[in-house]
Amino acid sequence: MEAGKGPVDLEKEVLNEGLCASCGACVGICPYIKVVKDRVAIIEPCGISEGQCYDFCPRTPTDIAALERRIFGEESPDSSLGSYISIEMAQARDSETRSRAQYGGVVSALVTYAMNQGEIDAAVLTRPFDGSLMPTSVMAEQSSQVLGCAGSSYITSATLAELNKATKQPRGAIGVVGIPCQVMALRKMQASKHETGAKGVKLVIGLFCTWALSYKGFNEFLKGKVDPSSIKRIDIPPPPANILVVHTKEGTMEFPLDEIRGSIKPTCNICYDMTSELADISVGMVEGIDDWNTLIVRTPEAKRLIDKAKQDEVIESRPLEESRLDHLREASLNKKRRAISEIVKRTGDEKNLLYLRLSDGESRKFL
């Protein structure tokens, strides 16, 4: 956390550089920063030199080791997948949950379960395909709202803004489902000296993420090809397919991934985290097995919840094969290598890794 920086610096270092992840951490704190779709802008500088907006941003300097110590009590011993207690395969027991979810339905099942068990009172979620390509942020207060938020649209929404709104109307224990940049911002919010809605967050479920698309770019790409309001599901099958599949009410369309790469948010190219390493629980796909998830349990509290969920037959699990685990590690390491190389390309200096404050030893692994 760098002291003495505020919105002017945020604009200069992040927004003007195209590095905004549109996570929403800076949105809704004050009347000066607004988001529409996935575009965030500072409408007018507020004149404050040291601001929460700069503090919370996942693309301003972040001492990852310090955050890890805060969450896990120690720095991560694993450079590829972060701190964890267990890694396994899991799926929701309920077949409807599975059928509506992107993969195995573990996230939907866990959030619903946590709400029903009173572990959390509300959940900050992202609802895809809400009549448009642009997903919407939701503060769900009923577990019945959860399943409507299953699935991924590959576009980020400023979900964390919901937490900032929560300062106006405080809620009890909150669960958050987010992608790695959102999880990182959330952890920065929790570590901040400021009174934020993130202080009430008791459960953080992080999703695996390789990259996200910009709304404008993807919307323009689909124009004339697909009616965004008819989209039911978007999927990127594992390599070597190299395609993006759009399922609509009318049928299924496939687009070569290479045609879509131009719409990837530039900030994703400097992202160092594939598996939401700072979450309590991380969930992603299992390559080649459609209706199962990879489940990484990182904190003891999360382990307690998962064990209970298994006991109550909400989710079931199997061990993850060693070869799949190796594959996951390799994919995560590749993302880190790509990110560091892209950052150095931008800064022209191996010592200047933009937002990443890594130890020399850690950064040398990827240079």
Partner: protein, 633 residues
């Protein structure tokens, strides 16, 4: 009761200049009044509309000044007496018709009142509309007193009828908007029957028509030679004479008195300023060796009198002329007694001090600390503040350096802090959309900035529709934002075609702005600017689409709304207000800056000024901490 209906000839009544003009029209038996509101002319038609039913005359707010003049001219062509009133800029708008109705001529008395706004207190320019009378070859009258405002107007109808020409009256803010005693005349009875006969064709044998027009002007000159509105006061043999017209009369009289020059300086006051009564002027300047010309805005009298002096050089001998050219008076801005006295003192080599220096110092020492510096702003609760904030936000989110082209209305203040400095062009009614249609065509030259034109609801009907049609026809790229506050707000909320009532307050058909836009074939959305976040999002979305789009921000002028529906109390819960801290930084009182919100320096909290606040409550929706509360929600 209106001073216009008092039927007691000889009675002295305190009247505003504009009321006196209206009363003059009543005493002339006016039948028809058409106008578009504009400061400082508005009260002329407003007063007449108020008594329209009483006198059985017709009064309307027209969509713009050229339509007003054409409508009034129709009444004249049917043999009725008609008056049309407008501010200076209105004369520009109606000038096309003006330049041709002078050729075709008129029948019933047709009087055009042009009210100029010296120093542009409420205008986007400063102009001297007297030039239009000369330009169009029309007789011009300039009242100097409140009595004359009435009497000249009455006489203008007679003159117009006699010449078969429209007659122009020029007023200025200081006459139109101040008050003085007026001795009433008789109100005629009876109503003529309107009937159109003959033909009024400008464009047939134009040169002959033009020559005939010059002959009519000569007749006007003859009439002016004997006019009671031209007079001379002062010593018979004065060598130094002030020649003045209009508001200059009072200033000159006071300046002469202040300097004690009554025994040596004469004042020649001209009420008929085009064409000038040459013989009258020559007669009174025979003794003079020096003259000072006092008039408001352009050196109109000055230049025309110099022509007479040059033509009469043999008779009059050399006369030194002081005025705008000599630098003794400005030739721009409004004038006052002080400026005239300074000019006179400087010519005469006298010392002149407006007030005692010690007194002046004490007055400024006392006044300055209690007068906070204030920028011009829009009213508390004005929907334009929210609209312009939404526009600013949408352009910033868009991120392509988009900008706003503006025009004339309350929202013109958006060029300053009241609209977060958003308007980047400001000219005349409708100009924002006209400019935007041009900017929107510059893509082939690498231009990629989005353009938003703003225009008011009344301005839309007045002047912006052709620009919008042009944009549609020529496939331009622009977003037109119509700031619909339900009336012609800047001049006092007069009705316009979508208001639903007419100049007399009777129900009127509604011309829906969005229906007009749809008929033009453009995408149109209607939103409430007080739902700020939604307004921002919709504007942003519209900016992403190519082509011509219209956003109607509809929200009634809150000064009117709060009068009609009562005012809700708005207050700050100080314990929730975070004031200067991160997360707010005094957004409401410092940035949004509604005059109804103040900063309590002692408590370091925002506070609502309940005297000023209109209770609109938009600040409550913008407060990041929910600290501003509207009583009763």
């Amino acid at each position: 009761m209106s001073t216009l209906t008092v039927d007691q000839p000889g009675k002295s009544v305190l009247m505003m200049g504009n009321e006196a003009i209206a009363r003059g029209a009543i005493e002339a038996g006016v039948n028809f009044c058409a106008a578009y509101p504009g400061t400082p002319s508005t009260e002329i038609a407003e007063s007449l509309a108020r008594v329209a039913e009483h006198f059985g005359l017709y009064a309307e707010w027209s969509t713009n000044e050229i339509v007003a003049l054409e409508a009034a001219a129709a009444a004249s062509l049917a043999g009725l007496r008609a008056i049309v009133a407008m501010k200076q800029n209105g004369v520009n708008v109606c000038s096309d018709f003006l330049m041709t109705i002078s050729l075709s001529g008129t029948k019933g008395g047709l009087v055009i009142v042009a009210a100029d706004d010296p120093s542009a207190i409420s205008s986007s320019n400063e102009q001297d509309s007297r030039n239009f009378a000369k330009f169009a070859d029309l007789p011009l009258l300039e009242p100097a007193t409140f009595q004359e405002a009435k009497d000249i107007t009455k006489w203008a109808f007679e003159l117009s009828e006699k010449l078969g020409l429209p007659c122009m009256i020029r007023s200025v803010t200081r006459l139109s908007h101040s008050r003085g005693n007026v001795k009433l005349g008789e109100i005629p009875e009876g109503r003529p029957v309107a009937r159109f006969e003959g033909a009024y064709i400008a464009g047939a044998f134009v040169a002959i028509q033009h020559s005939a027009l010059h002959q009519k002007l000569e007749q006007a000159r003859e009439a002016f030679e004997e006019s009671e509105f031209n007079w001379y006061v002062g010593p018979e043999d004065a060598k130094f004479i002030i020649v003045t017209s209009g508001s200059g009369w009072f200033y000159s009289r006071e300046a002469v008195a202040a300097l004690g020059l009554g025994e040596e300086v004469g004042i020649l006051k001209i009420g008929t300023t085009w064409p000038l009564p040459e013989r009258f002027i020559i007669d009174h300047l025979r003794q003079a060796t020096e003259i000072l010309i006092v008039e408001e805005v352009d050196p109109f009298l000055e230049q025309n009198i110099k022509v007479i002096l040059s033509e009469q050089a043999k008779t009059l001998g050399p006369i030194e002329v002081y005025g705008a050219k000599s630098g003794h008076l400005p030739g721009f801005g409004d004038i006052n007694q002080d400026k005239v006295a300074r000019a006179l003192a400087s010519i005469k080599g006298l010392e002149y001090r407006t007030r005692d220096e010690v007194y002046a110092q004490r007055a400024s020492d006392l006044a300055l600390p209690i007068l906070p510096p204030r920028m011009p702003t829009v009213c508390p609760g004005c929907p334009h503040r929210a609209s312009l904030w939404a526009i600013k936000a949408a352009l910033k989110l868009d991120g392509r350096d988009g900008f706003v082209t503006g025009d004339i209305g309350c929202y013109s203040l958006g060029a300053g802090p009241a609209g977060f400095w958003q308007l980047k062009t400001l000219h005349c009614m409708g100009a924002g959309t006209g400019l935007a249609t041009g900017f929107g065509q510059l893509g082939q030259f690498g231009f990629n900035q989005p353009v938003i034109s703003v225009c008011g609801d009344s301005t839309f009907f007045h002047a912006a529709i052709p620009g919008l049609i042009n944009a549609r026809f020529n496939n331009s790229n622009l977003l037109m934002v119509i700031l619909d506050n339900g009336g012609t707000a800047m001049t006092g909320f007069q009705p316009h075609p979508s208001s639903g009532y007419d100049a007399l307050g009777r129900p009127a058909p509604v011309v829906e702005i969005e229906e007009v836009c749809k008929a033009i074939g453009v995408e149109v959305k209607v939103r409430d600017p007080f739902e700020v976040d939604q307004a921002i999002e919709d504007l942003y979305d519209m900016l992403q689409e190519d082509g011509v789009k219209v956003m109607v921000f509809r929200r009634k002028c809150y000064l009117v709304e709060s009068k009609e529906k009562g005012r809700k109390r708005v207050f700050v819960e100080p314990e929730k207000c975070i004031g200067d801290d991160c997360g707010c930084a005094r957004f409401c009182s410092r940035v949004f800056n509604c005059p109804g919100i103040i900063w309590d320096q002692e408590a370091q909290k925002a506070k609502i000024d309940e005297v000023v606040c209109t209770g609109c409550g938009v600040c409550a929706t913008l407060c990041p901490r929910g600290a501003i509360v509207v009583e009763g929600g």
